[in-house]
Point group: C2
Chain length 137, copies 2
DNA sequence: GTTTAATTCTACCTTTAAGTAGTAATTATA
DNA sequence: TATAATTACTACTTAAAGGTAGAATTAAAC
């Protein structure tokens, strides 16, 4: 009942980047150091973020990563999607989900409300919301 | 963002057992067959359920498993606890949770409500509630 | 052009969850 | 007492996630 490591790292990376508005371009070495994420693993994650178009990479000397879109337009759910961690509409709490609407277990209806709250939270919170408070996550 | 396989299986097993009130004692072979869970894996899970005292096992010929407590007294969260899948009070949505109360990200407060709903749901739903509807989960 | 600081790629290693196999122990029943 | 049916135990294998290493590639700077 938790996000994958990759999602957690990705969120922390992007939130940190969003915080450093002044220095547009951030390199992997610094990110890994300050966020205490294994350098190579971070690089792997960054590559995925680039592939999916959230950030762009500038290769070569003086290179680094920067946002492709405004941080207010990048939602947490966009990040979770990449690592297949977002909550699908049809997802059962238990993860079982054979049961059809006709024959519901006691949890079925109770799950709707927290599910919607979570989806709303992930879909409506942008990186700008998460960062921009002067504190690291 | 999902329960482990073991938790899912355990819930399905116990829910099925709860449904079969007539035949008190259920054996692993039948459970594995009807629930379509690998026999050996099921046996392993059952051993854990026995260890933790949710069910008792009768060994030897004509043996099997039966509940130790009333199914109305076994809560979903009791099962999740066994496989370390329940939602801890201090658990952050993102799973990060370095952040103290002083410096909260935008998700921090939004997470409280769905978290409490989920905890309540797991803690207050018994096996009797989940089963007893004539449908398999 | 060469050097150098940076990203990217491919392939591998490690750890944990999931699943399997075989055998020992237990007990009702014939 | 022998047999068959059943759980318990120990150890292994497989699959997936998490993480690492090193070479290849890129492009600024000199
Ligand atoms: S009825 Fe229960 S087990 Fe089935 S899909 Fe709904 S919540 Fe999941
Ligand atoms: S502030 Fe955000 S990241 Fe930190 S513990 Fe709270 S929810 Fe988690």
């Amino acid at each position: 009942m938790q996000l994958s490591n990759s999602s957690q790292y990705a969120i922390r990376i992007l939130a940190y980047m969003a915080d450093q508005k002044d220095s547009e371009l951030m390199n992997a070495t610094e990110l890994a150091e300050v966020l205490d994420i294994p350098y190579k693993f971070l690089a792997k994650i960054m590559t995925e973020l680039v592939k999916v178009g959230l950030v762009v990479s500038i290769r070569g000397r003086e290179g680094g990563y920067k946002f492709e879109k405004k941080t207010s337009e990048i939602m947490v759910s966009d990040i979770l999607d990449i690592f297949n961690d977002s909550i699908k509409d049809e997802q059962c709490v238990l993860g079982i989900g054979f049961c059809n609407g006709m024959c519901k277990c006691a949890l079925h209806d109770q799950w709707m409300e927290p599910k919607h709250l979570l989806q709303k939270m992930f879909r409506e919170s942008s990186l700008e919301d998460i960062a921009g408070r002067g504190c690291k996550i």
